[in-house]
């Protein structure tokens, strides 16, 4: 995988595990994607997903073992990975996985960081396939994509409250109905 140069709006280029990640300014994501599609030849948007980094690095959310009061993973561990993960710039990340379908295949990851309530431009005009993927990110994370033609829930029922994949949305948050309550 080769790093792309001259992509507008790039804040940082990260190389890890043989994969290239371009961190872009969320205000210029459409510009960057259009450039990657037309100049760099990444003609397919393979995947688009949201990630919630709320509580990243603290033991209460995902890093604990067993119960929240359990062993602190961020203390030096027996297996050698006991360190606090690097802080993230903002709460949400929108991650785009691009693919170059050509004789010189390649992959690229584009990442845009958003604070809670911040909006980002839709890339449906760049890749039509983004339609359902953006609806999914909206549905599960509450990320609003400006300019999306039909930004409504896709996986959850229309009248659902909350965005289930957020880290502050509890497992088992769905109320259980018993037949006696009807």
């Amino acid at each position: 995988m080769s790093g792309a140069t001259g992509v507008p709006g790039v804040v940082e280029t990260v190389e890890a595990h043989g994969e290239t990640t371009l961190v872009v300014d969320p205000a210029r994501v459409v510009e960057a994607c259009t450039h990657l599609r037309d100049v760099e030849g990444y003609n397919v948007l393979v995947d688009l997903s949201g990630v919630d980094y709320l509580g990243w690095g603290s033991k209460e959310v995902a890093g604990y073992i067993g119960t929240p009061a359990g062993r602190d993973l961020n203390a030096a561990g027996s297996q050698g990975f006991g360190r606090v993960p690097e802080a993230k710039p903002k709460r949400f990340a929108v991650v785009y996985h691009l693919l170059r379908v050509s004789d010189e295949p390649g992959r690229m990851r584009v990442e845009a960081w958003l604070a809670e309530g911040e909006e980002i431009d839709s890339v449906v005009s760049v890749w039509p396939v983004a339609d359902w993927n953006e609806r999914e990110a909206y549905d599960l994370y509450g990320i609003v994509f400006r300019g999306h033609p039909n930004l409504v829930r896709i996986l959850m029922p229309e009248d659902w409250e909350g965005h289930p994949l957020r880290k502050d949305y509890p497992l088992g948050g769905e109320p259980v109905r018993f037949s006696g309550e009807m």
Partner: protein, 419 residues
């Protein structure tokens, strides 16, 4: 084989609708009948709801409603250790379960920087290809059934059962086996497997010939598939298609060839490409892929026979369960076993994306780890979700009966779509 179109100057059409809007200038609104196709309809392969506006017999508008099978796999997996999480991806795309399992295991291995033994690599490839045959057979049987070729179903499910027998022999269960482990395989390959797998690999091309004999000169089948549900190469790329959908539209793209993983560089096989992008070509791609898969299975068995007696799982006691027999004699093994099962193992911080060619196309896994024993985020790239988005483009101006043929040809597995 027809000439294939290469991606030079690919035009991204915009907007390329994922919803077919009713055009009031072309249709008189008084004639429009809006019906619900699904969610409980035998030809939706699960629970897909299509809201269809019909003008007589023609489809004038279409909107897909999904989510009926949303089970929150990704949320659940965030609360399970990696070791426990392996069982979940298999249930996402329940027809090509080995592929989903493989992609998740490979993503964990990439973060761990863990090498797998050669035997595990070849066995993973062998089972993936058997699984592709299994998935294509279910597709063939059910799709043909929907278009009225009822007998096809029994023939396809006859061979499917033989594939499942092989899975049962190796893993103990017929579906959702959890046979792939981080580091390799759960168990050694049973001795009887080689001969039985070879028998199936020899038999499969003849079986595919039989299927084609039943369908290829069947007038009804041809009338209902040829020229139906057209999708051009440009539209296919813009709509993020992969796998058989893309290859039926004239794009020569297969991750096994273009970006090889496992040991696909070392096996010999053909990638079928057809140019017209209709239902018939999708059917042909599926048929040729079964032949190619049978060929790969044969080569895998030959290689696996040479690897008899080799280890099948990496020797890393921090992530791999110790051999069962050691638990009775070694205290250290017992502790390792207990720790892996209860606490899990720690996976270094980082994010990776791994993609493989499943039976329906690019099956990917985006895995984010915070250095703990549970994944921070798991996202599965579902080929079916992309395929289903092409429905509206494929059925423009089609008859309502063709809608059934088109929806079937997209090969969506609703578990994969809704996750």
């Amino acid at each position: 084989m027809p000439a294939t179109q290469i991606y030079e100057g690919t035009r991204i059409p915009s907007p390329c609708p994922t919803i077919l809007e009713l055009d009031p200038t072309e249709h008189s609104l008084e004639d429009i009948l809006t019906i619900n196709f699904g969610p409980n309809h035998p030809s939706t392969h699960g629970v897909l709801r299509l809201i269809v506006d019909l003008d007589g017999e023609r489809v004038a508008g279409l909107k897909a409603v999904i989510g009926y099978l949303h089970t929150g796999f990704e949320k659940t997996m965030e609360s399970k250790t990696y070791w426990k999480g392996i069982t979940y991806p298999e249930r996402i795309d329940y027809l090509s379960f080995q592929a989903n399992e493989l992609v998740f295991v490979m993503a964990i291995e990439k973060l761990l920087v863990l090498e797998t033994p050669e035997k595990a690599t070849w066995m993973r490839m062998c089972l993936s290809e058997l699984n592709r045959i299994h998935s294509h057979l279910v597709w063939l049987g059910t799709s043909a059934l929907e278009i009225g070729a009822i007998s096809m179903f029994w023939y396809a499910f006859r061979e499917r059962d033989q594939v499942l027998d092989l899975f049962e022999m190796v893993t103990g269960v017929r579906m959702h086996s959890r046979y792939f482990q981080v580091g390799g395989l759960a168990e050694d390959i049973p001795e009887g497997f080689y001969a039985e797998a070879r028998k199936l690999a020899r038999h499969m091309p003849h079986a595919v010939d039989d299927y084609e004999g039943l369908l290829d000169r069947n007038k009804i089948w041809l009338e209902r598939t040829k020229g139906i549900g057209l999708l051009s190469a440009d539209d296919a790329l813009a709509l993020g298609q992969s796998g058989p959908m893309l290859r039926a539209s004239g794009v020569d793209w297969d991750l096994r060839k273009s970006m090889p993983y496992l040991a696909y560089e070392e096996v010999d096989f053909d990638v079928p490409v057809y140019a017209s992008g209709d239902v018939y070509d999708r059917y042909k791609v599926h048929m040729d892929e079964m032949r190619a898969s049978a060929r790969i299975v044969g080569q895998c068995v030959t290689r696996l026979e040479e690897l008899r007696g080799e280890p099948w799982i990496a020797d890393d006691r921090k992530v791999v369960l110790p051999p069962r027999e050691e638990l009775h004699t070694s205290m250290e093994s017992l502790i390792h076993h207990f720790k892996i099962v209860t606490e899990g193992y720690l996976v270094p911080e980082g994010a990776v994306y791994v993609a493989i060619e499943s039976a329906r196309g690019e099956c990917g896994c985006y895995l984010v780890s915070d250095g703990g024993p549970k994944p921070w985020r798991v996202k599965f790239r579902a080929p079916s979700l992309a395929a289903l988005q092409a429905t509206a483009t494929c059925v423009r101006g089609a008859a309502v009966a063709d809608l059934v043929a088109v929806a079937a040809s997209l090969d969506p597995v609703m578990g994969d779509v809704d996750r």
